[in-house]
């Protein structure tokens, strides 16, 4: 297995795992409070929409020339990955609160308990729509990452396998725990995923623009190391800046 293949499977697995943990929290919060039938129908409906997207987009992307595909996918991954990395740096430096799955679960349960009982098409409409939206929105990110990772390297199957492994692990853990997976180091995983998405985006975007990377695929490790080092320096600088601002704010 080449370096880029290992990073591709790892990236698809980790990105899918964090998104699925968030979707699981929503589904559990609604299902436990309001019952499982409508909630699971919402999950199934969203899964069908996501599967249809993969089935339609996967083959369609095969007809696009690989250079163009890498440029477009690289640009999208860069824009998308930098959002993740930016938020992860803000969280690590203390400028943004860490994502708390347990708090999200409590909030979801409270909202589910407060919502009215509207029946449509024989379903508890609140449970159906919240589960559908939650799984669809978190799943869209998974689909985007799997398709972009897979298509740019011609390995949609491997990227899908990474996502499928994450699905089995997260759902299995959720069934065993019967609660949110708050022990998953979500913030650290999001940091790593942001780093991988940005690095792959940089590598493929530049290749699509006609660049020949020195050392070919091995330079991907160099890109990961460079962006990783930059992000660590930024976290340290922001931490120092935040701590320096605290006494100034207290005085003012």
């Amino acid at each position: 297995m080449s370096t880029s293949t290992v990073l591709l499977v790892l990236g698809a697995f980790l990105a899918s795992a964090v998104e699925m943990v968030e979707a699981l929290t929503i589904v559990l919060g609604v299902g436990i409070v309001r019952g499982w039938r409508s909630t699971l129908i919402g999950v199934a409906a969203a899964t069908i929409v996501l599967a249809a997207l993969v089935a339609a987009l996967g083959p369609a992307l095969r007809v696009v020339p690989i250079g163009t595909l890498r440029l477009v996918v690289g640009a999208l991954l860069l824009a998308f990955g930098l959002q993740w990395l930016r938020k992860a740096i803000l969280r690590s430096s203390g400028y943004k609160p860490h994502h708390d799955e347990d708090a999200a679960f409590r909030r979801e349960r409270e909202e589910a308990a407060r919502a009215g009982r509207e029946q449509r098409a024989g379903l508890d409409w609140y449970s159906f729509t919240v589960a559908f939206k939650g799984v669809l929105l978190e799943g869209l990110e998974v689909v985007f990452i799997v398709i972009s990772f897979g298509s740019a390297q011609g390995r949609i199957g491997l990227a899908s396998a990474g996502a499928a492994a994450a699905f089995l692990l997260v759902v299995g853990a959720g069934v065993l725990a019967r609660g949110p997976l708050e022990r998953v180091p979500e913030n650290t995983i999001k940091y790593v995923v942001g780093l991988l998405l940005t690095s792959f985006g940089c590598f493929w975007g530049a290749e699509g623009a006609g660049v020949h990377w020195p050392g070919d695929e091995l330079s991907l490790l160099g890109v990961v190391a460079f962006i990783g080092a930059v992000s660590i320096l930024l976290v340290r600088a922001l931490r120092r800046q935040r701590l320096a601002l605290v006494p100034a704010e207290a005085k003012g």
Binding site: L71, G74, A75, L76, L78, A79, F80, L82, Q83, L85, R86, I89, L90, Y95, L140, E141, F144, T198, C202, G205, A206, A209, G210, V211, H212, W213, P214, S219, V223, F226, I227, V230, S231, L234, L238, Q241, R242
Partner: protein, 69 residues
């Protein structure tokens, strides 16, 4: 019309996110890389440097609210 607007807004937030300047900067950096490589310069270094600068600038704007606009 409302649905079209919501749909467009969703994809804008999904891809571009909180700071449109980052996405615009990336587009410029990719364009420059393409231009240089077509002129015979193997500009593999340009995109990583642009990413570092864009990320730092975006974080600076986020943590110094008075400079945001």
């Amino acid at each position: 019309m409302k649905y079209v607007r919501s749909f467009g807004l969703f994809w804008w937030n999904f891809v571009v996110g909180d700071d449109w300047r980052v996405a615009a900067g990336l587009a410029v950096a990719l364009g420059l890389t393409s231009l240089l490589t077509h002129e015979g310069v193997n500009a593999w270094w340009l995109l990583p440097v642009a990413i570092a600068l864009l990320l730092a600038a975006s974080l600076w704007r986020e943590t110094h609210p008075t400079t945001r606009g």
